[in-house]
C-alpha cells in the first residue's frame, strides 16, 4: 500500500527563523503517529504544510494530492482538529451537524447523532455555552462521523480535564481508528498517547531527530538501573542520559546490546517522555 504522506526536502522559513529544515519522511496507512517536539520546533508548521494551510518549498504528497494546489479535494479525505477552542462561538449543535452534513460528501449523519447522544449536548446549545470539554466532544463527534483517510490532531486535548482526555483517546481508538485510517497527533501530554501510538517522530529545530515505530524504539532504546559502584562503567559506555533515583543511577542507552546491559542491572523500556527529555536536552539553553 502506498504511503499516506510522503515528504521530501520540506522546508519552511519565516522571517527570522527556520520552522522546517529540509525534512523528509513517509507515513504509511493504518498508523497512529505521534509528532512530538518542544515548543517552536516546527510541529504545527509541518501539520499546516500537510493540510495546505501554508506555503513551503520541497515535495509533499498527501494521499496522492499536492496540498498546495488540490486543497479542496484533499479536505474530503482529511480531517483535522486544530485546538479545542476553534469552533465558532455562535454555532449551535444542530447547525453544526446540518452544515457539515450538507457540505461534506463523506459525513454520516446517523453516526454523528449517535455520538452526540452519548454526551450532554443538546441540539439547541451554542458553542459559547459549552465548557471546553463539551466543545471537544462536539468537534470529535463531527470528525468521527466523517469517513476520512487521514486525521490530524494538533494538541487536541489542551486544557481538558483528565476525564475528557481519557475519553477522547478512548473514543478515537474504539470507534474510529482502523487499518485504513491514519492518525497524526501532536501533544505535550506524551504519557497519555504513549500506549496508543504505533510510530514516534521527534522534531527539534525544524529537523526530525527520531522517526521509528514503537517496536523498533523498544529494541533500540534501553533503560538500565545501575548500583552506585558500577555507575562509572556505565558512564563510559556513553549513555544518552543519566538520572539518580534512590541512590541508584538510571542510564538511557541508544543501540547498546541488551545482554550487555542486563549484566549491569535491571533493564526496562524507557517511557516516551524520558526518551523525549533525553533527546531534547539543551533545546532551550
Amino acid at each position: 500500500m502506498s504511503p499516506v504522506i510522503t515528504a521530501t526536502g520540506l522546508s519552511k522559513r519565516y522571517k527570522n527563523s527556520v520552522a522546517l529544515d529540509n525534512v523528509s519522511f513517509q507515513i504509511p496507512a493504518g498508523r497512529i503517529v505521534g509528532l512530538i517536539g518542544p515548543n517552536g520546533a516546527g510541529k504545527t508548521t509541518a501539520l499546516k504544510a500537510i493540510l495546505g494551510l501554508t506555503d513551503f518549498s520541497g515535495q509533499l504528497n498527501v494521499l496522492g494530492l499536492d496540498p498546495r494546489k488540490q486543497r479542496d479535494k484533499l479536505m474530503e479525505q482529511v480531517c483535522f482538529i486544530a485546538d479545542v477552542a476553534v469552533l465558532p462561538r455562535w454555532l449551535r449543535v444542530s447547525e453544526a451537524v446540518d452544515f457539515v452534513a450538507n457540505v461534506h460528501p463523506r459525513f454520516d449523519r446517523a453516526k454523528c447523532e449517535a455520538f452526540l447522544a452519548r454526551t450532554k449536548l443538546t441540539p439547541g446549545m451554542r458553542v459559547r455555552q459549552m465548557s471546553k470539554g463539551m466543545i471537544v466532544q462536539l468537534h470529535l463527534a463531527l470528525v468521527m462521523a466523517i469517513d476520512a483517510r487521514l486525521l490530524i490532531l494538533d494538541e487536541p486535548t489542551l486544557g481538558l480535564d483528565i476525564l475528557y482526555r481519557k475519553q477522547f483517546y478512548q473514543n478515537l481508538l474504539e470507534d474510529y481508528f482502523d487499518e485504513n485510517k491514519t492518525i497524526i497527533v501532536t501533544t505535550h501530554q506524551v504519557e497519555e498517547v504513549e500506549h496508543i501510538l504505533t510510530d514516534l517522530m521527534f522534531i527539534r529545530d525544524g529537523k526530525i531527530v527520531l522517526d521509528a515505530d514503537m517496536d523498533a524504539i523498544g529494541e533500540r532504546f534501553i533503560e538500565v538501573m545501575v548500583n552506585g559502584d558500577r555507575a562509572e562503567a556505565a558512564r563510559a559506555m556513553k549513555p544518552l542520559d543519566e538520572r539518580q533515583v534512590f541512590g541508584k543511577s538510571i542510564f538511557l542507552f541508544d543501540g547498546v546490546e541488551r545482554s550487555t546491559l542486563e549484566a549491569m542491572g535491571e533493564v526496562r523500556r524507557p517511557s516516551v517522555s524520558d526518551l523525549f527529555v533525553a533527546t531534547m536536552k539543551g533545546t532551550y539553553a
Binding site: L51, R71, M75, V86, R89, H104
Partner: protein, 322 residues
Amino acid sequence: MKTFYWLVKREFWEHRGGFLWTPVIVGGLSLLLTLMSLVTGEVLGRRNNLFRFDGGDSIGLNGHLDASMLDNVGGVLDCVLFGVIALMLGIMAIVVFFYCLGSLYNDRRDRSILFWKSLPMSDGQTVLAKVASATLVAPVIACSVGVITGLLMMVMVACVASIHGLNLWQLLLHVHPLQVIASVIALIPLYVIWALPTAGWLMLCSAWSRSMPFLWALLLPPASLLIVWWFGLLGLFKVGAGWFWGNVVVRLLMSLVPGGWLRDVPALGNGLHANTPDALLDFLGVAQNYATLVSPDLWIGAIAGVAMIAAATWLRRWRDDS
C-alpha cells in the same frame, strides 16, 4: 451549488441579528410610532373640536376630493411605502458595512477559520458566499421587511382616513404598492453592481489586516486623498483632490448606501423640484436608475470591486497567521 447555498445559510445563521432582527425591530418601532402619532392626532383633533361628527367633517375628506387630489393622496401613501423601504435599506447599509469588515477577519481572530478550513470547500466559494450575503441577501431581507412594514403603515393611515369619510375602495385605485415593490425589486441587481467597490474594499481590508480592519479601511482612503492633494499642490498630478474624493474615497466607503448612483443622473435635480408625489416617484423609477448603466463610473467601480474580492480570496487562501 449546494455547498454555496449552505455557505450563505451559515452567514445568515451567524448574522441573524443584523440581517433579520435589526430591520424587524426598526419596522416594529416605526409602526408603533406611526400608531402613536395617529392616535395623538385623533385625540388632539377631537379635544380641539376639529372634527364634527354629524356626518360632515371640518376637514371634509369626502365628496370634496376630486380625482387629482385622490391621486396626490395615493402618491403620498406610495411615498410612505418607498420611504419605509429606504429607511430599512439605509440601516441595512450600516449593518452590511460592519458585516463586510468582520467577514474575513473575525474567524481569523478567534481561530475558528481552522474549523471552516477543515471542510472541503474552496476559499473562492466562501468569499463569494459572503459577497452574496452582503449585496444580495441583506438587501432582499431589508426590502421584504420594509415592504411589510410599509404596507401595514399604509393600511393604518388609510384606516384613519376612512374614519374621516375617505372611501377606501376609491383610494385603492390611486395607490400603487405593487409598482413601488416591483421597482424596488428591479433595482436590486443595480445595487449589487454599485455596491461591489465598497464590499470589495472592506472585505480586502478584512482579509488583509492583522488587527483593526476598521481603522485600515477607514483611514487609508482619506490618507491617500491627502497625498493626492499634496501632489496636486506640487502640480504633479492632473487629477484633482475633488475628483479623487468623489470617485475613489466615496466609492470605496459609501457605495453600500442604496441609490448612490443617482448622483450621476442629471435629471435628478428636476426630480427634487417635482411638485407632486407621483412625479417624485417617477424620478425614482426603474428607467431613471438604470440610466446609470451607461456611466463608466459604475463599471470601473465594479471591476475594481471584483479585483479586490479576488485579492481578498487569495489572501484568505494563503494568509497564514492563525
